[in-house]
Every structure is written in C-alpha cells, then in structure tokens.
C-alpha cells in the first residue's frame, strides 16, 4: 500500500476519532463575581396621585340592577331587543300563514333563591319615541330624563321559581307574558310584533321596581349569554306536497342587544377626594404620578426584574372579588387635583403595557417592571398610571388606596425595585 494512501486514510481516521473524543464540560468554579450583579432599591415619597370622577359606567356589566345600596339608587333598567332571531325578523312573523300565540319577555335572576319580600316589577315600552332610547355606554342619570319620553306600561309581575324536576338548580325568573296584544290606558290596542316590525322601532323596554326597594336586586345581563330575551310563540300553516294542511307550532327568541341600569350615585365623600379611589358605580378612577428621577442614576443597561412593584395600601379590612386594572397613561395629565363629573373620560391608556396587579394582604402590588424598563429605554414617557375597576366588580363597591400627602406614614405608597445590571 502506498504511503500517501496510508497517510490519507490515517488522517481521516484521526480527525474523526479526535472530533468524537472532544469534550466540553462546565467547570465548577467559585464565581462570586460576574459581569452581572443583582441589586435592590426601595423608593419612598415618590408616588402621588389623585382620583377623578366620571359618570357611572354601568354598561357591559354582567348584571342588571334594581333597588338601592350604599347610597346608590337604581332608577330603572333599559333593554333593547334584537330585530332578528336567527334569520327571522318581526316582519316575517306578520305573514298570513302565521298566528301568534304568545309573546314573553324573560329576565333571569342572578341568584338561585327568591327574595324574601317579593317586590312587584313593572315593564314599560316606548312605541312612540323614535328609533333610539338609550346608548349602552353613554346613557346615565345625568343625560337621561324619563320625562322626555312616553313609556307605556305593559304589565306588572313577581319573580317566580319553577319546581325542580330532580336535583337540578332552578334559577328564579321574571316573566312578562301575553305581551302580543297590549291594551293601553287610553284604550288603544298595540300589537308588539307589529310595533317591532317597523324599521324605525326602538324595540326598547323599561323595567323598574314598583315603589322602590331598599336592597339590591340583580338580573343577568346580556353579557352573560343568559340575559333578557323576547320569545314569540306562533303557529304556521302550510300545505305540503300532498295538499295536506300542516300546522307547525314554533317559536323564536329575540335576545337583548343592549341593556343598561341607570342609577344615581351618592354624594362625593372626603375619601373620594383625598384618596386614590376605584369604583364603577361612582365612576371613580385614579391617576398615579411617579417621580422616577432616580432612574437616571441607575446603570445604563439595567434590567428590572418582575419583582419590581408599586405598592399601594388599601383602606379596608378585606377586599374580595375586586379587580383593578393598571395601565400607563397615553395623555398628559393637566391637573392633579380631584375633578368630578367629567362627561367623557379624558385619559386614554397605553394598552400595550398592561401592568399586572396582585392583591397581597392589605395592599396591592402593581408590577411596574415593563413600565420602568421602557421609560428607561425612552420607548415610553412617564405620564403616570391609570387605575380603574373591572366590569366584573360589584359596581356599588369602592376601594380606597392611600396616597402620599406629604406626611410620613407607614401606609404611604412606595416602589420596590429589583434589578440586574452589568
């Protein structure tokens, strides 16, 4: 065998053997100092803020309310019914082949048991008041005056609960039936289906408690998927291919497309003005101002850890089932004084940077890791943080947080920062 061939084969074998024999283990070594260090910082007296008050925001809640609680007085509830059920409109139900048997409006109660003192509920509608009565998100007690409308009473009834067939739970319901033909006080008769078939019909009902109620009553709103609905039961006559007359008993369900409880909030209190308050029924939200001058002294390539929080103590023994949202402000705050009854909320948020809120035994911890980081990067301007309540909260509950008022206090808000930096 020629030597060059031997050598070439040797080289191939050698390279493969050596390649396979290479190893790279991590060496344990006392690394007490590496180019990345962990540190922490607590900032006191750097957090101020104010509450502000808009009109009550009762739209998009999961409940419709009647009655009164905590100084709130529910005037009434408005519901607008859809013009269609699947592909069937009210106009479709006016055909000669259709005979309406019954029209029922149903509300599902939000708890499983009947009220001890079963109040009387009154239903009205607005056949002569144009194509729109209310706006789900903008209508409130300030801009809605019932005297500008001419509602017609359809009927009154009580809550009822059917007998369960087995161990199932049956929710009490408020049912207004026999609505297909209504006799007004003036003696006229109105056909609900005919009225709602008009293209300019508002298809709106008003529900109220007769004589008021000293406690709170709630029904499921359309947001739950089990909200108010109008059911039309009818018979349709047709002739089949064998010339036999067939009568089908059918029904259509028209769901609510808008529903809103109109309430009057109680008067503004000292806490509303001096603390950071959050509550939908009162329309209370809060703006928080952070003094971040210290950031300029921190390392340039700082990385904030998730354990970087804005800590706010709340003024209550216990808070349950209450969620607060925190987002960076998208606009400059013109005034850091309490302002009330602003028509439209002027403070938009930057929705790209949701700040998680954690409830922690007497305080909330708002994770401001991303806020501080992107302010440091100059991707975000330090305009402040907006706090507001979730639509799932009890709208009649207001939670108050302590703000810094210039005095040293163990309940003042503070910032804890954990970071790593080269």
């Amino acid at each position: 065998m020629k030597i060059p061939i031997v050598i070439s084969r040797f080289l191939w074998i050698l390279s493969i053997c050596v390649f396979l024999s290479c190893s790279e283990d991590t060496i344990p070594y006392p690394l007490d100092k590496i180019p990345l260090q962990l540190d922490t910082l607590i900032l006191y007296n750097k957090v101020t803020g104010t509450s502000y008050q808009t009109l009550p925001e009762m739209g998009s809640l999961e409940k419709l309310y009647l009655g009164s609680k905590n100084g709130f007085i529910n005037l009434f509830t408005l519901i607008q019914i859809s013009s269609q059920s699947s592909n069937t409109t009210f106009e479709d139900l006016l055909k000669d082949s259709i005979s309406i048997d019954n029209v029922i409006l149903k509300f599902s109660f939000s708890v499983d048991t009947l009220l001890a003192d079963n109040p009387v509920f009154r239903l009205s509608f607005f056949p002569d008041d144009g194509d729109s009565i209310f706006h789900e998100y903008n209508t409130n007690y300030k801009n809605f005056d019932i005297s500008n409308f001419t509602p017609i009473i359809l009927g009154e009834t009580y809550l009822a609960q059917a007998e369960p067939e087995s161990s199932e739970t049956v929710t009490p319901e408020l049912i207004f039936d026999s609505l297909n033909v209504v006799e007004t006080f003036s003696g006229d008769t109105l056909n609900i289906v005919e009225t709602f078939s008009d293209s300019v019909s508002n298809r709106t009902f008003l529900l109220e408690v007769v004589g008021g109620y000293d406690d709170l009553i709630s029904f499921k709103s359309r947001e739950t998927g089990d909200g108010p609905n109008l059911s039309v039961y009818y018979q349709e006559t047709s002739v089949n291919d064998s010339d036999v007359v067939v009568i089908d008993t059918l029904y259509r369900i028209f769901p609510a497309i808008k529903d809103l409880s109109v309430l009057t909030p109680p008067d503004t209190t000292t806490e509303d003005v001096t603390m950071l308050a959050v509550g939908r029924g009162k329309g209370l939200k809060s703006l928080i101002q952070l003094n971040l001058d210290t950031l300029s002294y921190l390392p340039e390539q700082i990385l904030f850890r998730s354990e970087t929080y804005l800590n706010l103590f709340y003024d209550a023994e216990e808070v349950e089932n209450f969620s607060v949202f925190a987002f960076p402000l998208a606009d400059t705050v013109n005034s850091w004084d309490f302002t009330s009854f602003i028509e439209k909320d002027p403070y938009d948020i930057n929705g790209n940077y949701a700040l998680p809120v954690i409830w922690d035994n007497g305080k909330i911890k708002i994770r401001i890791q991303s806020y501080l980081q992107y302010v440091k990067f100059n991707n975000l301007t330090n305009l402040g943080i907006k706090l507001y309540g979730s639509t799932n909260n009890d709208p009649f509950q207001t939670v108050y947080f302590y703000s810094y008022n210039g005095e040293v206090n163990s309940l003042n808000p503070y910032i804890t920062v954990q970071y790593v930096a080269p």
Binding site: I3, P4, I5, I7, S8, R9, L11, W12, L14, S15, I16, V18, F19, S21, C22, S23, E24, D25, T26, I27, P28, Y29, P30, L31, D32, K33, I34, P35, L36, Q37, L38, T40, I42, E300, Q301, L303, R305, S306, E307, Q369, S370, Q373, Y374, F377, N379, T416, Q418, V420, A421, P422
Partner: protein, 426 residues
C-alpha cells in the same frame, strides 16, 4: 499526491469543529498557544529551536533558508486537562498551524501562515447560594461562558545579515472575535448578558540565528528572538442589553410563548466601547543548540514574556490577566540520516522537559507548570515530506486546588515540493 493533499485539507477543516476549554482561557485574552508545531512540542520548545530538521524550526524563519524544498505544513493538535479535585476532564482539538514555507535559493526564505493565537472558550458555573433581599430570599447562581478567540495571519522573512548570522522577521496580524456570556440565575430564572469583542493588532518578532559561538571547538548555534507589538491590540466591545430568558432558549428571541423581557423590538442598540491599548506584550527568547554526538543535539531555551499594557479594564471572564510568563526547557533530538537506508534511520527522535511559570496580575498568583515531552518525525518521499508527532504531559499548580494534569498532542504533516528551480535550456 493530490488525494493526499485533499485529505489533509479536509481532515484539518473537520478537526476545527472540535470544542474545548481550560481555566486559563478565562484570564485576560485567553490562553495563548506556546508551541505551534509538533516537532517543537516533542522537545518542549516554544518553536525557537531547530527540532524539525537539523538547523530548521518550522516556527523560526531565520532557520528556513537551509530547506531544499517548499513546504506546506499543517499542524493539528489538542490537549486534555484533567482536574484532580473533581475529576473533570476537558479536551480540545483543532488546527494549530497552517503554513507555507518557501526557501529561495537557499539564501532567503518567505512564509505565510495562519494559526490560532489565543483561546477564550470557557464554561464555568458557580455554586448555588441563598441571598436575602429585603423580605425575599433568593437562590442565585452565576455562570460564565466564553467562545471564540484571536487568530493570527502571519508572514515571515528570513535573510542573512552576515556570513554567520541570519535574521528572521515575523509579522503576526492578529484578528478575531469572541463572545462572552454571563448568566445570573435567580430563582431558576436566567438573566443573560452578552458581549461581543472584535480584535485587531500586529505583533512583530525578530529572530537571529548565529553560529559564531564555539566552546572547546564545539560549535554552538545560538538563537535569539525579540517580540513586541507593532500595533497594540485594539478591542472593540459590543455590550448588549441584558435580558430575562423566560422561554429558556438561551437567546433573546421574540417567541410568542413565554416571551423574553424586554421585547426584542424595543431593545436599545449595544453599547460600543473601544480600547486601543489592551494588550502590549514583549518577549525575549534565547536558545542554544549543540551537536553533542552524531546527529544527536542538545538544546536548551529560556523565554520571558510580559504584558506591558495599562490594562486596568476588567475584560476577562475571571477578572484577572496574565502579566508575565517565563519558561525554561531542555531537550534532546536525534535526527535522521540525510540519506536513510534503513527505516529506523528515517525517524527523528525527540524528548524534552520544561518548567513554566505564569503570574496573574490582579491576584498576584503564581501558576507553575512542569512537563515532559516526546516526539518523533518520519521522513518520506522524494521531496523529504515529513510527518511529526509530539506528545507532552505536564502538571499545573496554582489555578485550582490539587492542580491539573495536562496532556497535549500534536500531529504535523509537511509536504515538500520543488519551487524556483532553474530549468535547463533545451
């Protein structure tokens, strides 16, 4: 022959895929290669002394002119470091040198080559500790990783300056890049900080070979080398924003699940830092070679190396750097016969011992290394091709408790060809 050359090139490229590390890679600019060729490894020399052939060292251009053929040399080597205290073994193998040597009319010589200069590959992990931060108790672990290093593209010249003295000059154009990654793990979450470094610089080394010295009529070849930086090494550092590796990928990516923080799109540009005088070595080597018996040479060498840079910047993984390095080595070489008839006369036989001391700058620690080496070379072919093997084993104390055992090998293949031959006119 073509197949052999192709095999050589391909196998050497394959071999560069190997990875490896040693603790010295974490000091300063990494561990610098002391010996580049297999023949010098066999006698524990730095490359100053003639171990390749009589009066020839592949790494000393002042010795090249006596070569009859143009040589293309490739050196492939590796080493294995065994840490006695925790029995860890780390190895590496890659291309040590690739060189073309062209002797011109047996009077001058020119060569070009490429070889790794320093190695910064390292992977260190610290122990897990518990730290109290305010009301939080955190478990913390540090990890350092380094990749890459510095390479050298060199060109050398050799020419006589007198009847008895030959001068050699080598320019080492240093280039390369490395990446250092520091990982701080806090409660199982990794925070990663990366730096990339680009290197450039020029080293100059002057060799002098002289046969003026005689002791009791025994000629002693003397070798001297003086090295310094013609252009101190400059480092451009790109420091990237640290990030929280939430998806555990090890990279700052924009995965939609467990997204890394901060957002990759929002990351600021890396901070660029420039150091113009970060490595300024000076070295002096002196060696003697004497033929004490037929084809048997006794060789000794002493080498001094020092970094003169005002290196106050803490750039290395282990926050220290090598400030000086001194070595003494003694070797014996039995060269092959010029025209060997028997196969055993085709071999060169080499052995050597060495002592090396390294001093670290910040810790003022001394690291001592003692070793012994062996090697053989085999000549073949009409053009005096040669294959060399070198092996060294040494003990190193001072870096870690209980010391390290280092095993090093090198294989060199030098293929000769006849260039610059005046053709007879027909």
């Amino acid at each position: 022959m073509l197949r052999l050359k192709i095999s050589l090139i391909l196998s050497l490229f394959l071999s560069t895929l190997g990875l490896g590390q040693t603790l010295l890679n974490g000091y300063g600019l990494g561990s610098v290669q002391y010996t580049r060729d297999a023949a010098s490894l066999g006698i524990s020399s730095t490359g100053l002394l003639p171990s390749f052939r009589p009066h020839v060292s592949v790494s000393n251009p002042s010795t090249w002119r006596v070569l009859q053929y143009t040589y293309l040399s490739g050196m492939y080597g590796g080493h294995e470091v065994e840490q006695k205290n925790n029995t860890l073994i780390h190895g590496r193998s890659d291309l040590d040198q690739f060189q073309l040597i062209i002797p011109i009319k047996q009077k001058y010589a020119w060569g070009i080559g490429i070889n790794p200069y320093s190695d910064q590959r390292i992977s260190l992990i610290g122990s897990e500790t518990t730290t109290v931060f305010g009301l939080d108790t955190l478990t913390v672990r540090n990890t350092i990783s380094g990749f890459g290093g510095i390479n050298s593209f060199n060109t050398s010249f050799g020419f006589p300056i007198s009847e008895k003295d030959i001068l050699g000059v080598t320019f080492d154009f240093l280039f390369g890049s490395s990446r250092q990654e520091a990982i701080l793990t806090v409660d199982q979450k990794d925070y990663i900080y990366e730096q990339r470094r680009l290197y450039s610089g020029v080293l100059l080394k002057i060799f002098i070979q002289s046969d003026r010295l005689k002791i009791k009529k025994i000629p002693i070849d003397t070798y001297l080398a003086l090295g310094f930086s013609a252009k101190p090494l400059a480092i451009k550092i790109y420091s990237y924003q640290p990030f929280e590796d939430n998806n555990g990928s090890g990279y700052h990516d924009a995965s939609s699940i467990n997204r890394d923080f901060p957002d990759l799109a929002s990351n600021p540009k890396p901070i660029k830092t420039y150091y113009s005088n970060s490595f300024h070595p000076i070295e002096l080597q002196f060696g003697l070679d004497s033929e004490i018996a037929t084809r048997l040479h006794f060789q000794t060498e002493v080498a001094f190396w020092k970094d003169l840079a005002s290196f106050k910047h803490n750039l290395s993984a282990l926050h220290d750097q090598i400030s000086s390095r001194n070595q003494l080595n003694v070797g014996l070489v039995k060269f092959s016969t010029k025209v060997p008839h028997e196969i055993w006369n085709r071999f060169h036989y080499r052995t050597g011992i060495y002592i090396r001391q390294i001093k670290l700058d910040y810790s003022q620690k001394y690291v001592n290394q003692y070793g012994v080496s062996f090697g053989i070379g085999y000549k073949f072919g009409l053009a005096n091709n040669q294959i060399d093997f070198g092996f060294s084993i040494s003990k190193r104390d001072g870096l870690i408790k209980d010391g390290e055992i280092i095993r090093q090998f090198s294989v060199g293949l030098s293929i000769g060809d006849l260039w610059f031959v005046k053709r007879r006119e027909r």
